[in-house]
């Protein structure tokens, strides 16, 4: 398969870009932040996303979606990254849909997927517990009790957890922290007794939640996939999420870079455009090259996720690691080359820096994925 977007994918990109740049430029995020909006994103825009078919992009056609793949999800994520639009697209349309579509029973899929596709159901995936992404260290206890399980523990960085109508919670039904066996995914009603949700507004003005589970009862038919065997399902879902976040970082990097190059062609010092200085030219060229390489690695990973899912792990690790380092470099060079202006809140560039930091951390940072790649290659 050619490592370029198909005509259909390019058309999808154009329509996503049209909607997002029109309705949700960076000013949209800024205004939600400044007004301390209770939701943190626009429900009207999510409705528009649903009408465009974006919310159901990964939902199979027989459940009311478009049945498209990770490349298409990445195309939308990249456009989201360009304007930093806060949206449940990642939490609901990518992560929750992937978990339900890959692990759900027919009943679970019928109950939830059509509602995601029509925009009426928001969902969130609860995985992380410690300060760093370490999925094997999951220690939220799920003990058999009556006709189901009782959940005890706490989750952090649950993206959009404060607005979710459905939580997908990774817990431990067996084994010890660090082991792959014994992980199980649960569908949990956030209004269930014992669930305490604290909205955490993050550094990037996007939303997540800390969620505590105290003797939360979950029916056995709300187990997603097999008991004790959720590790593989979770891996797959996380890989899709990593590919999506990597795409967002490509969009973010390219946007920051574009703005920075424009500034180099406008700003004068010492009687010259600063873009004439070789010190800045070479750094700009290096960053351009980095972004092009990362874009290729990310597209490769997304194509692997669509075409050869079981073997996509290494490509995903490469993509997420590269996207993290590239975005980190892009935002730092962006602020530096904008000089004092780059440090002001009034200027948009800081928003990109903050979002890049969150994206780095989501589902494993560059160090995590470098370590994963080394393990895959047995060294």
């Amino acid at each position: 398969m050619a490592l370029v977007l198909t005509e259909e994918q390019s058309m999808l990109r154009d329509s996503a870009r049209g909607l997002i740049s029109d309705k949700a430029p960076v000013a949209h995020l800024r205004s939600l932040r400044d007004s301390k909006d209770a939701t943190g994103f626009s429900r009207d825009l999510w409705k528009a996303f649903a009408e465009m078919g974006f919310s159901g992009l990964l939902v199979p056609e027989n459940f009311g979606g478009s049945g498209l793949g990770c490349v298409e999800a990445g195309v939308v994520m990249e456009e989201i990254g360009r304007t930093l639009m806060p949206s449940p697209f990642l939490s609901t349309a990518v992560l929750a849909v992937s978990a339900l579509a890959r692990g759900g029973s027919e009943a679970q899929k019928s109950a939830h997927l059509p509602k995601v596709a029509d925009g009426s159901l928001l969902a969130a995936l609860a995985v992380d517990e410690g300060t760093k992404h370490r999925p094997l260290q999951i220690n939220l206890q799920a003990v058999r009790s009556g006709n189901g399980f009782k959940l005890n523990g706490a989750k952090a960085l649950v993206v959009d957890g404060h607005t979710a109508d459905l939580l997908i919670v990774a817990g431990r039904t067996g084994g010890a922290a660090g082991e792959r066996n014994g992980l199980t995914l649960f569908l949990v009603d956030p209004k269930a007794k014992g669930v305490a949700i604290e909205r955490t507004v993050m550094v990037d003005a996007h939303n997540a939640a800390r969620i505590e589970f105290a003797n939360v009862e979950v029916d056995a038919d709300h187990v997603l996939g097999e008991v004790d065997q959720g590790g593989a399902l979770l891996d797959g879902v996380l890989n899709i999420g990593r590919g999506a976040v990597a795409s967002e970082m490509v969009g973010l990097s390219e946007e920051v870079f574009g703005r920075t190059v424009t500034y180099l062609k406008e700003r004068k010092q010492f009687g010259k455009l600063i873009g004439e200085f070789q010190a800045l030219q070479h750094r700009a060229a290096q960053l351009y090259i980095d972004i092009e390489i990362t874009r290729s690695a990310v597209l490769k990973a997304l194509q692997m996720l669509d075409g050869d899912f079981e073997h996509a792990g290494a490509a995903v690790a490469v993509a997420k690691a590269r996207a993290g380092t590239t975005a980190t470099l892009a935002v730092q060079e962006g602020v530096q080359m904008h000089g004092g202006m780059g440090m002001t809140d009034q200027f948009d560039i800081g928003f990109f820096m903050k979002r890049a930091r969150v994206c780095q951390e989501l589902f494993g940072d560059s160090n995590y994925h470098a370590d994963q790649l080394a393990r895959m290659k047995s060294y």
Binding site: A2, L3, H282, A315, A317, A321, A370, A374, S378, Y379
Partner: protein, 394 residues
């Protein structure tokens, strides 16, 4: 089954039947590369067999037209052939500056007589070419070159000196930049000309490098007589040909690290520094360096694949080969720094039994030229800044 799938199936079967097992192993020395030419010798029987079979299919130059000795493959078929060769680790049957550099320039700028004369001999490995570009005072500033070509009836008389001429001492012919108009602006008085290295007045002198090898020469021209019909393209417009050829040269050099890759770095390092109980390298910082390298190398392979696909889709920027050249060569230097670090004191042996004549440190030193030859990293970044990013005054 699509035509391309059928082609893939047939290609796979043909390679399986025709590529000798010896030609599927990573190359371990210079002798494993076959360069062709009037005085060429095969280093082994499998090397000869492999070369001749590929030559007979036109697959020394798979994408050149059949009329010039090529395989006539389209881009998609060429990609399939590369993938299938790579899948079995098949070596290139013929390495040649004629294939990588001159051929594409002749196909674009050469007249019919020049194409008919030179391309089939390149494809068949009969003539080995060298490149007369750099001069002692024209390195990064290549267009300031001073080698003169003075008109004398139907001929030019060429006088001057080239430097860093790769393998000039083994080459049969040279493609050369000469100044045909010394009054014009520096880019406007240059012509691109071909001549036989056996001509009277041509001499070469190998340059000993830090690696202990002499892959480059100084090349001297003392009143060398060359027919005017050997100019490729328009007289005084040789800079266009030179730049076009440089794009191909840079694409070639950017892939330096891909050819003949041996074992993965992680395994090489594990053999020398050892691993702990959980299988991790016993050198945490080296392990980090290798992992970071592996990520960048895999990403670079993706961009190389994408560059081909973008070209096929007509969406590539002509200066992108400079971006590839910059990154590919810096990556290859990193690879060899890591190999030296992983090798520890073993990698320091220059003359000894176990070091195969100091192969590792010599290869390491050789890579330092990667970011200089064919345009320095700094020149590449300047080209990207100017031609792709459109930054001012570059």
């Amino acid at each position: 089954m699509s035509d391309l799938e059928i082609f893939r199936r047939e290609t796979r079967a043909w390679l399986e039947a025709n590529c000798p097992p010896e030609m599927r192993r990573p190359m371990t020395s210079e002798n494993d590369t076959y360069w062709g030419g009037r005085n060429a010798k095969f280093s082994s029987e499998p090397q000869r067999v492999w070369f001749e079979r590929m030559r007979d299919k036109g697959w020394t130059v798979p994408d050149w037209p059949k009329e010039y000795g090529g395989g006539g493959l389209d881009r998609a078929e060429h990609k399939v052939l590369r993938e299938e060769m790579s899948a079995i680790g098949a070596r290139a049957p013929l390495s040649s500056f004629g294939i990588w550099m001159l051929g594409p320039a002749l196909l674009k700028y050469g007249n019919e007589a020049q194409k008919k004369e030179h391309l089939p001999k390149i494809a068949a490995g009969l003539i080995r070419w060298c490149q007369g570009y750099s001069e002692p005072n024209a390195g990064s500033d290549l267009a300031s070159l001073q080698t003169r070509a003075e008109s004398d009836g139907d001929d030019y008389i060429i006088t001057g000196q080239k430097i860093w001429t790769s393998y000039a001492n083994y080459a049969d012919w040279i493609f050369c930049l000469v100044r045909t108009d010394s009054t014009a602006k520096k880019h406007d008085g240059i012509s691109f000309i071909l001549f036989d290295m056996a001509s009277k007045g041509v001499s070469t002198k190998p340059i000993l490098l830090i690696s202990g090898y002499s892959p480059f020469c100084e090349t001297f021209f003392d009143n060398v007589r060359v027919p005017k019909s050997h100019v490729v393209g328009t007289v005084n417009r040789g800079w266009d040909v030179a730049k076009y050829l440089l794009q191909h040269e840079r694409a070639m050099i950017s892939g330096t690290g891909e050819r003949g890759i041996g074992r993965p770095l992680g395994q090489v390092a594990a053999d020398s520094v050892g691993s702990d109980d959980s299988g991790r390298l016993d050198d945490a910082m080296l392990r980090s360096q290798i992992a970071a390298f592996d990520i960048d190398e895999a990403a670079f392979a993706a961009v190389a694949e994408r560059a081909v696909d973008l070209a096929k889709a007509g969406q590539s920027h002509p200066a992108f080969s400079s971006a590839m050249k910059y990154y590919g060569t810096e990556l290859n230097k990193r690879r060899h720094e890591i190999l030296m670090s992983a090798g520890g004191i073993d990698a320091l042996e220059w003359e000894s039994g176990r070091s195969r004549g100091g192969a590792r440190p010599r290869a390491w030193l050789r890579t330092k030229a990667n970011s200089i030859e064919g345009g320095t990293s700094e020149v590449m970044l300047g080209i990207v800044a100017k031609r792709i990013l459109d930054l001012p005054g570059a």
